[in-house]
């Protein structure tokens, strides 16, 4: 699916240019996970012509590694820096997805990023309609999941 490849390409571009990290996508995961354990999730919501969410999920070791790369300093705990970094990752991907879904970009609005982390939590995303994609990337520090859900709105 074209949008799957675009999402994978956008993720690789972010990791290459901002983190100097080479990552390669794996085969698509059919069913997006609902519950997470010892994970950090950064999210940005979409509204307007399309509503939906872009989320970046990483287990603690990978989240710390990504944030360490971002900040060029050792990060050894899940703290505000990690949450902020994951919000920014989701924000950059959401900007790319917005450009994919809308030629003008003006008809899609993005929320400010938010992040969560925890030993165990669930994300309640309406999966009854619309398009759902998960692009997994395997790394030495764990599996990165890029999640996209979007649904075209009536009149759009």
């Amino acid at each position: 699916m074209e949008i799957y490849q675009q999402l994978a390409d956008a993720t690789q571009e972010v990791f290459q240019s901002m983190l100097a990290m080479e990552i390669a996508p794996q085969a698509e995961i059919g069913t997006p996970p609902e519950s997470f354990s010892e994970t950090v999730s950064g999210m940005v919501g979409m509204g307007g012509l399309y509503k939906g969410i872009v989320a970046v999920h990483a287990p603690y070791p990978l989240a710390k590694k990504i944030t360490s790369q971002f900040l060029m300093t050792d990060v050894d705990e899940i703290n505000d820096d990690v949450l902020d970094a994951f919000g920014e990752l989701a924000n950059m991907l959401a900007g790319s997805i917005k450009a994919m879904l809308s030629s003008s970009g003006k008809d899609i609005q993005l929320s400010v990023p938010s992040s969560v982390s925890g030993e165990k939590y669930t994300l309640d995303i309406n999966r009854s309609q619309g398009t759902h994609l998960i692009v997994p990337f395997e790394t030495e520090a764990g599996q990165l999941l890029i999640q996209l859900h979007f649904e075209k709105q009536n009149g759009g």
Partner: protein, 122 residues
């Protein structure tokens, strides 16, 4: 007085990355000022006069567009060059920023080379 830059972004991580990218691009500033949104930036500009400003667009409280609007209306600061550094891809939004006085924009994600190409002449 040495060269100063003001970086406006609600993400502390992004402000640090931009600062590092400036150094990697060979752009040295004696003082790097930071603000978390447009309102905080306007407060800083009451007492500081940076040579250039890099601003995000999508921020809580006061976004980059409103910051440009208020800066343009203030004779003391309206001539400080501003470049947008943003995930925003909408041509209409970028054009609105340009019409409000922004000199250009850098798309996130970015490389130090892109920063150098945009800011090198300032």
């Amino acid at each position: 007085m040495g060269k100063q830059i003001l970086i406006i972004d609600d993400s502390n991580t992004m402000r640090k990355i931009i600062g590092r990218s400036l150094r990697q691009a060979g752009l040295e500033y004696d003082k790097v000022l930071e603000a978390g949104d447009g309102a905080e930036a306007l407060k800083i500009l009451e007492s500081e006069k940076p040579d250039v400003i890099l601003s995000d667009i999508n921020m809580p409280n006061m976004d980059g567009i409103e910051f440009l609007r208020q800066k343009k209306a203030n004779d003391k600061i309206k001539n400080i060059p501003v470049f947008m550094i943003t995930t925003e891809s909408a041509a209409d939004v970028i054009n609105e920023a340009i019409n409000l006085g922004a000199k250009g924009s850098i798309k996130k994600p970015f490389t130090p080379e892109q920063i150098q190409n945009t800011l090198g002449g300032i």
